[in-house]
Symmetry: C2
Subunit: 248 residues, 2 copies
Amino acid sequence: MLSKSQISFVNALHLKKNRKDQGLFLVEGIKSISEFINSKYQVDSIYCSGSSLKKFNDLSPSIKLHEISEPELKKISTLNTPQDALAIIRIPEKTPIRSESFLDKYTLILDGIQDPGNLGTIIRTADWFGFSQIVCSEDTVEAFNPKVVQASMGSLSRMAVHYVNLPSFIQELQLPVYGALLEGESVYTAKFDRPGLIVLGNEGKGISNGVIELITDTITIPKFGNAESLNVAVSASIICSEIKRRGL
Amino acid sequence: MLSKSQISFVNALHLKKNRKDQGLFLVEGIKSISEFINSKYQVDSIYCSGSSLKKFNDLSPSIKLHEISEPELKKISTLNTPQDALAIIRIPEKTPIRSESFLDKYTLILDGIQDPGNLGTIIRTADWFGFSQIVCSEDTVEAFNPKVVQASMGSLSRMAVHYVNLPSFIQELQLPVYGALLEGESVYTAKFDRPGLIVLGNEGKGISNGVIELITDTITIPKFGNAESLNVAVSASIICSEIKRRGL
């Protein structure tokens, strides 16, 4: 059974302000929840059907489990078609950024990404290609937004997503800054001769002025047809793929 | 001014059944609408603010233009944040599929894609990479779904999207069938020695059994990290990019 106060507590977490105040966020679906249980995240409680109770109890006996019906799940879910379970998970303490962790590998830098589906898809793709952290501008959509979590398909449990003042962060690192733009060196022939930062900009406005200035190498995905631009998650994916294809 | 009957006529087109009955669909945003005006599509009427009236009239004086206010646009828009204009456009007559148009190029085949954002993004990406047609299984989401149109960012105006019985279609063509699966030849080293069909499957269930049997070459995007799978629009994009990178 779901009490009124439980319903309003969970529904409050649909909103960013309350997630921040409570230090909690929501993950839905048995598969994604299991990945968070098997990660560094601390799962506080799970609302699920009776058939999933045992599975979660086996995975981690310390989690508070609440058995609820499908109609009850619909009352607290962020999804139009709720999945089988909903978990409340702690937002981890901000970990300090270690400069040395960026030295020998390529890192995705997101400058003002607004669409949660795009951020979630980028997290999922970066996880597929073996990246372990992503750095976002402060105005990038929040990683614990339910739509980001959903689109990341569990990959958020393995990806450190940092929010920083991008210009200062980039200036401090002193690494090559590869900016994805509509004009530049083809990503297929660009040298990528030293690991660095790969910057992708906002869906409509692109990379912000303060960051544009810091780009050392412009890269672009060659266009063979007529679309004016590519979706930012698609661009990120093609660049990650190309870097990995070359064994970088 | 927007009459009650206009509001209900446009809102009816939010639904697939009514789009099919009326042979009409909706496109929102000045930029996308302009691309449809400059295409083979027949734009029936446009609802927009006074400031856009002249622009559309210059583009095509034959279109019926209705000046409406922002709050009125909100009443007929399919978007949470309506754009500046909404157009009603004719769904074109089905063009017969010409087998010879598949012979000398690669074509994307979509088997049961459900998410409209994914289909729209695939149309946009295919347009970027110079593909001119996409073939979908009959259970793939409808190309005139407002979310598909939105995600395609105008590219739908240039892309022929066919819906067919996939197994019969594939069998008739007698071309290589490259199936994107979680296991197979790496897309980076796959031969692609003859143009053919590139098949991508449903978001959850993958390629259907009737189509799996017809695959001649399995291809896969190598995994370097931990995500279980890639988003289907991301997979399609990486494969299109790789084919074009090699000049195929």
